[in-house]
Amino acid sequence: MDFLNALVALLNFVVIPGVAYGSQLALGALGVTLIFGVLRFSNFAHGDTMAFGTAIVIMFTWLFQSWGISFGPLPTALLALPFGIAATAALVLATDAGIYKFYRRQKAAPIILVIVSAGVMFVMNGLVRLIIGVEERNFTDGARFLLDGNTFKAATGLAEPLVIKTTVAVTVVVAVICVAALFWFLQKTRTGKSMRAFSDNEDLALLSGINPDRVVQVTWIIAAALAVIAGTLYGLDKSFRPFVYFQLLLPVFAAAVVGGLGSPLGAIAGGYIVALSEVVLTYAWKKVATYVLPDSLAPDGLMQLLSTDYKVAVSFSILIIVLLFMPTGIFKGK
């Protein structure tokens, strides 16, 4: 029984939050890696693209709530998602036409594009703060739990509850749908194939008549859509604050680099690796240990390897290990 309790505690506090956070990071890292593959620079504005999209989604959620529209047990934000994606896609397409395109024509060094993207980050960051302010926003509504602790305890007779929040379930389902759709698109459609061709070898792709502008535009739209979905899911699961989204940049980058920049499959694996390491290293293991270990060995301390303040150190350490031992990432990116 103790063993089952430990298992449930592990699921409840480590596996489920880790998988949800990992799905959010994976979607963010997919956007970074696609932009890197096609446009060949690390987009520092990605975190703020997520923030911008989420801010728009929140505005539409409020609008729908004021009209009395809801999505039943699911969060209203899901209904607002298409509007957020449309607005963000329009914004990044305008940014590309007004800013990035010039440097692409010039064949500027990737580092110049990185600096330019930092400038874009600045503007977007300011825009988000102008639109929605700097305060924390909670915009989750609908049913709170898919499976709540008391029901689980009553059904199984265990001492430990297993809780599945609606937002967690929504995150995982939406992430699976997005990834499946993305891979179908990349593998099966003509545009997707030309994107991969362009990412593998730009000159050959141009030679075979692929329209580079179209490839770039489609990439931006997909990256924007993934960023808005990732940002909204993160905001539903935790909460929305512009500065937190700026800080999400590091784990998202770490995930993309771990998997190998330019490799979509790698970005997904990287997202889960970063998220699970973060949760495992910052979780206080005392509860699980008390169930598993005999009473004589029961721990005094929290058994927490790192305080939660140092979450950022986890993604950074993973990044460093990858840079030291396999600079092209697990899935051999660029």
Partner: protein
């Protein structure tokens, strides 16, 4: 128009901004902005070394600034003998143990042949070392933080003069740069940008949460001033000073604050000029030409037998050290270490905009950018809400009005970003281009 006249005019224009601030607002404010502007200019010089001479893009400038600030606490904060006696040695021993584990792991990694056995051995060493480190370190931390946490709760500093902290700040920042440069230089140029973003965030988190070190978010206050600068209250109590300034027709209180700021201005200005002199000499020496050759064509430079990665590491360390020096000067002027002020937007990206707007690769450009944007940033901070309040005076009080007044500060970010993008697009060589 000759370039030198143009440059003089640009500097005169910036000087005019400060004079106008003095005339229409107050000389205190103008001098304060100027002092911070000079410190920003020194930081911009450091970044210019990395970017302008060598083409390295680091997003961790705020980390170097924070390390400089930490140096002031370590060197010149009052000692806390009781706190240190309680657990100081355990904390330092724990840290030394941590470093020893990393060194041992590196040596083991180098000594063994590649393979599964090596991976296992190194991992085992690191994991065991981590627990040992935490065991020693945690006990020390608990003991140190238990001592009078309302006033101290930290191991205290050495109580040495504040001037001594400035070079120490440079050394701290240089060491940090060495660690990160060793790892990220020589890979794709983006990796340095990503890795420095991370290390900077970690440094700030350490400052905020390690109470035993610099009291975390509880801040360390009452740091001593650098050597010749007196306290305003002492000046006001000094009959000779009061007699002299009243003789000149000044109010003693205003005169004392302005006198202090002028002293800072003289010291900071001297440091700035020394750094400009040194870096102009370096830039025009064979070493400077080599650096620019590496920046302009890495392949050709390495074909000529130059070790590109080593030179990059060198300049990356020097540039970060200069930023750390300025960070230490800033903290010793403010007399307190407040980790909350180390925001990446203020200390990383603002400095970047200064370098690019001023003219990357040109030291005078970096100084001009530092003074100009330093003025804009702070002037907007002081004047922005007032201006917005004046603009919205006709509106009835309500949500919209408060929202507009509050949003004045966010306009700064948007404006800075747009300035950066416009300069990069239309005048990528900046106001004072590289010769």
């Amino acid at each position: 128009m000759a370039t030198s006249t143009r440059n003089l005019l640009l500097f005169a224009g910036v000087a005019l901004l400060f004079i106008l601030t003095g005339l229409f607002q107050s000389w205190n404010l103008s001098l304060q902005i100027l002092n911070i502007g000079i410190l920003s200019a020194i930081m911009a010089l450091g970044v210019n070394m990395q970017w302008g001479y060598a083409g390295l893009f680091s997003t961790g400038i705020v980390g170097s600034v924070a390390l400089g600030g930490l140096a002031v606490v370590v060197v010149s904060a009052k000692p806390v003998p009781e706190g240190f006696a309680a657990g100081g040695w355990a904390v330092l021993g724990g840290l030394a143990l941590g470093v020893a584990v990393i060194v041992a792991a590196t040596l083991l990694y180098r000594a063994m042949k590649p393979g599964r056995l090596r991976a296992l051995a190194v991992t085992a060493l690191v994991v065991a070392g981590f627990f040992l480190y935490r065991y020693v370190f945690d006990q020390g931390v608990a003991a140190v933080e238990a001592f009078n946490p309302a006033t101290y709760g930290n191991i205290g500093g050495f109580g040495l003069p504040s001037l001594l902290a400035w070079p120490v700040g440079a050394i701290f920042a240089g060491l940090g740069a060495w660690v990160i440069g060793k790892i990220a230089l020589g890979l794709r140029s983006d990796y340095l940008a990503i890795a420095t973003l991370g290390i900077a965030e970690i440094i700030v988190v350490v400052l905020k949460s390690e109470d035993w070190l610099a009291r975390g978010v509880k801040n360390v206050t009452g740091l001593p001033r650098p050597w010749p600068v007196p306290y305003e209250v002492d000046l006001q109590a000094d009959p000779e000073f009061v007699a002299r300034v009243t003789g000149w027709g000044f109010d003693p209180i205003t005169a004392s604050t302005i006198f202090v700021k002028l002293l800072y201005l003289a010291i900071f200005g001297a440091v700035l000029l020394a750094i400009i002199w040194a870096s102009e000499r370096a830039l025009n020496s064979p070493w400077g030409r080599m650096m620019r050759a590496i920046r302009d064509n890495e392949v050709a430079a390495s074909a000529m037998g130059k070790n590109v990665t080593r030179r990059h590491l060198q300049i990356f360390i020097i540039g970060s050290a200069v930023v750390g020096l300025a960070g230490a000067m800033l903290t010793s002027m403010e007399g307190q270490l407040v980790p909350g002020v180390y925001s990446p937007l203020r200390f990383t990206f603002l400095i970047w905009v200064m370098v690019i707007v001023g003219g990357s690769g040109n030291n005078w450009g970096a100084v001009l950018g530092g003074l100009l944007l330093g003025w804009l940033w702070l002037a907007v901070e002081y004047l922005g809400p007032g201006l917005m309040g004046w603009l919205t005076a006709a509106l009835p009080a309500g949500d919209l009005k408060t929202h507009l007044i509050d949003s004045a500060q966010h306009m700064r970010l948007v404006t800075l970003g747009i300035v950066l993008l416009l300069v990069l697009r239309f005048a990528p060589r900046g106001l004072i281009p590289e010769k």
